[in-house]
């Protein structure tokens, strides 16, 4: 790929060089995450680096509580048949990771950027992105992040201050609607999202949101579901310009939803549908999610589920019962220190299966499973957990065991199977 560096200001060129050097040396001494630490070093040399690296490009910002890594990957795939694309596709979604991803990109490449939900304002200000994609907002890591309404308010404020040309947003998430409706041009996507526990209070007036069938409105103010331009069906996306059938390799309805946002983004950038759809259908895994691989010599499939809204979707992705499953829960900073969200997950839906609970907070999970009447044991290590799961009579020899893990647990297994950031 031709380097963009020659067209950059001298300070940015120096910053990119320092970043690469630091990234390379951190990889060389096996510190991992070389790109993020390299990005941090580059930002010390030039704090304006993100602005310089995105000047003159098409920029797409993707944010959400759940699905932003997958949707970023799908958008990049939908655009890739039409143009050069650069993306922080491995989930390094704060400024340092974004800068690291952009450092070596071609000058004309469209930047598709996954952005942590708390960093949208800063990245939007620095990049003046033309397209902003907002999928959902739900509770995640409440002991360290702002309350969800405050996040929505920050989105709303920055969309007013630096309005993008196009916002593509979820018409079925009241928090997202309240945040996005201030933008001059919004393409609303009807996702049919039925996770509503985080949205009951109206973000505008603290009144109550009433859901009736497919629609919703606040009982106390004018906030209501906007008219969607696209809606998600079982294996297609219905749009103003006709129905687009999809045959995705990624499993589950949740990935049709993610694909709808990607299709809307591709259209707003004038990418023909057939090229976009071919790209969407080519994606098999995303940063290790859905990957079938071998861990400790045993066949596994890795699934990420890190909060109640994510679990709501993930349970339908698990292998059919009675296949035993492994669930791994940590509560480090990146996961949130308080795993009480386990009680907001409908683990009763696992009753016909045997669950092996592992991870650093396996005992919290075991208590939750006990009260859900789900047959379970705890295992101290993932190796032991797999051994136990594969020893169950319901395990079918040769089949991958599903491991559903929250963030840092997932990263640990992903790194063990050879994935890295």
């Amino acid at each position: 790929m031709p380097s963009r560096s020659t067209s950059l200001p001298i300070r940015s060129r120096l910053a990119v060089g320092v970043g690469r050097l630091v990234a390379a040396s951190s990889k060389a001494v096996h510190l991992g995450s070389g790109s993020v630490i390299g990005g941090r070093a580059a930002l010390v040399v030039n704090p304006q680096l993100l602005r310089d690296l995105t000047a003159g490009r098409d920029v797409v910002i993707v944010s959400a509580t759940n699905g932003k890594t997958t949707t970023t990957r799908l958008i990049a795939a939908a655009l890739a048949g039409d143009r050069a694309v650069v993306s922080n596709s491995m989930g390094a979604n704060m400024t340092a990771g974004i800068v690291a991803a952009l450092g070596g990109a071609a000058a004309n490449a469209t930047a598709v950027l996954e952005v942590d939900e708390r960093w949208v304002a800063g990245v939007l200000r620095a990049t003046s992105a033309g397209t902003v994609v907002l999928l959902n907002l739900s509770r995640d890591q409440l002991d360290r992040t702002q309350e969800v309404r405050k996040l929505a308010e920050a989105w709303r404020t920055c969309l007013t201050a630096t309005p993008p040309t196009t916002v593509i947003a979820n018409a079925d998430d009241p928090l997202v609607v309240w945040a996005a409706q201030v933008a001059p041009h919004v393409i609303w996507v009807a996702t049919g999202q039925d996770w509503r526990a985080d949205a009951a209070g109206c973000p505008q007036c603290a009144g109550r949101i009433s859901f009736t069938g497919a629609t919703w409105r606040c009982t106390d103010c004018e906030l209501a579901r906007p008219e969607p331009a696209m809606s998600v069906e079982d294996s297609a996306i219905a749009t103003d310009a006709g129905r687009v059938p999809l045959s995705m390799r990624l499993p589950g309805r949740v990935n049709i939803v993610n694909a709808a946002f990607a299709l809307a983004t591709a259209r707003s950038l004038a990418v023909p549908d057939d090229i976009a759809v071919a790209g969407l259908q080519s994606v098999e895994e995303v940063a290790g999610r859905y990957r079938v691989t071998s861990l400790a010599g045993r066949p596994v499939r890795l699934l990420l589920a890190k909060n109640p809204a994510g679990w709501h979707e993930a349970i339908e992705l698990l292998a059919d019962p009675p296949a035993p499953v492994v669930v791994s829960i940590n509560a480090r900073i990146a996961d949130g220190h308080d795993p009480s969200w386990l009680w907001d997950v409908d683990f009763e839906r696992l009753r016909s299966r045997f669950v092996v609970a592992t991870g650093e907070r396996r005992h919290d999970l075991a208590v939750r499973l006990r009260y859900a009447d789900v047959e379970h044991v705890t295992a101290d290590t993932i190796d032991e957990a797999l051994r136990v799961a594969m020893g169950r009579p319901a395990y079918i020899a040769g089949r991958p065991v599903d491991i559903a893990a929250n963030y840092t647990a997932f990263q640990e297994y992903f790194e063990r199977v050879g994935g890295s950031q």
Partner: protein, 266 residues
């Protein structure tokens, strides 16, 4: 207690406004109470009342969870208008309130704009804003006890949970507490919890009754009496409690962070 309230053969539990209050897994308290009754072959009727709906005043036990500032104020307005929770509590119903739920059952609490508001007055306590960081982390008490509605003091062992609150709560002269905090902040004055008669408030999330089955069973005892409280298998909970005791005492908020985590910024 020697004379439990008559309950026919059904315990009625009401979760109040889970759409407004229930941010930190507090819905688990309803799950725990209902299961501990079902496992003892006691019928349970679990009702969930969203904001805007009419609150029954005939339930045996009411649960009020934690939540964010806006919904907290909204829940207070609805409860004041309805009056059902006050009637039920005055008739001896058990009320268990967590965090924001405890604050609004007190005499006064600060709302989302920091304005001092009247609470429901079911607990003799006042919640104030203080010039200190939010209390966030593992909360562990020394050996705790609760004063039952009949005045007897019942031991509960240690109480464990996770706390996350900005306000601090000052218990009044007529209230009792669970006792002294070992790790964490609790009320903010070295004590944890506020109890008046059959109304119990706490800063323990976790959820509290999942981590502290002795407290769950004590609340149930106030309704169904001693004899019905047959022993249950709490081995999973014992393992969790042992784990959380160690973590709290080691101030281990971030267990086993590797250098790799630090570089990832996690």
């Amino acid at each position: 207690m020697s004379t439990p309230r008559p309950t026919e053969s059904m315990v009625r539990i009401c979760s109040l406004y889970p759409d407004l209050l229930g941010t930190y897994g507090d819905g688990g308290n309803a799950t725990v109470l209902a299961q501990r009754l079902r496992w003892r072959d006691i019928n349970v009727d679990l009702v969930s009342i969203d904001a805007g709906r009419s609150v029954p005043d005939s339930c045996d036990l009411y649960l009020v969870g934690g939540g964010e500032d806006g919904p907290q104020t909204r829940a207070t307005q609805e409860l004041q208008t309805s009056g059902a929770l006050r009637r039920a509590a005055n008739n001896g119903a058990v009320v268990f309130a967590v965090c924001a739920g405890m604050q609004i059952l007190g005499e006064r609490f600060p709302d989302m704009d920091g304005v001092d508001r009247a609470g429901l007055g079911l607990l003799d306590c006042v919640t104030v804003r203080v010039d200190r960081p939010r209390a966030v982390g593992e909360l562990l008490t020394h050996d705790a006890a609760v004063t039952a509605p009949d005045g007897t003091v019942r031991p509960l062992g240690t109480l464990t949970g996770f706390e996350n609150h900005a306000g601090r709560t000052i218990p009044g002269a007529s209230a009792t507490t669970f006792g002294r905090v070992e790790i964490g902040e609790g009320n903010g004055d070295g004590t944890e919890g506020v109890i008046n008669g059959s109304v119990v408030g706490t800063y323990l999330h976790g959820p509290a009754l999942a981590r502290n089955p002795a407290l769950a069973d004590e609340l149930l005892r106030w309704i169904i009496g001693d004899a019905a409280l047959t022993p249950l298998d709490d081995s999973d909970v014992d393992a969790l409690r042992a784990d959380r005791h160690l973590a709290a005492r080691a101030h281990e908020l971030a267990p086993q962070r590797s250098w790799r985590d630090r570089l990832r910024g996690s």
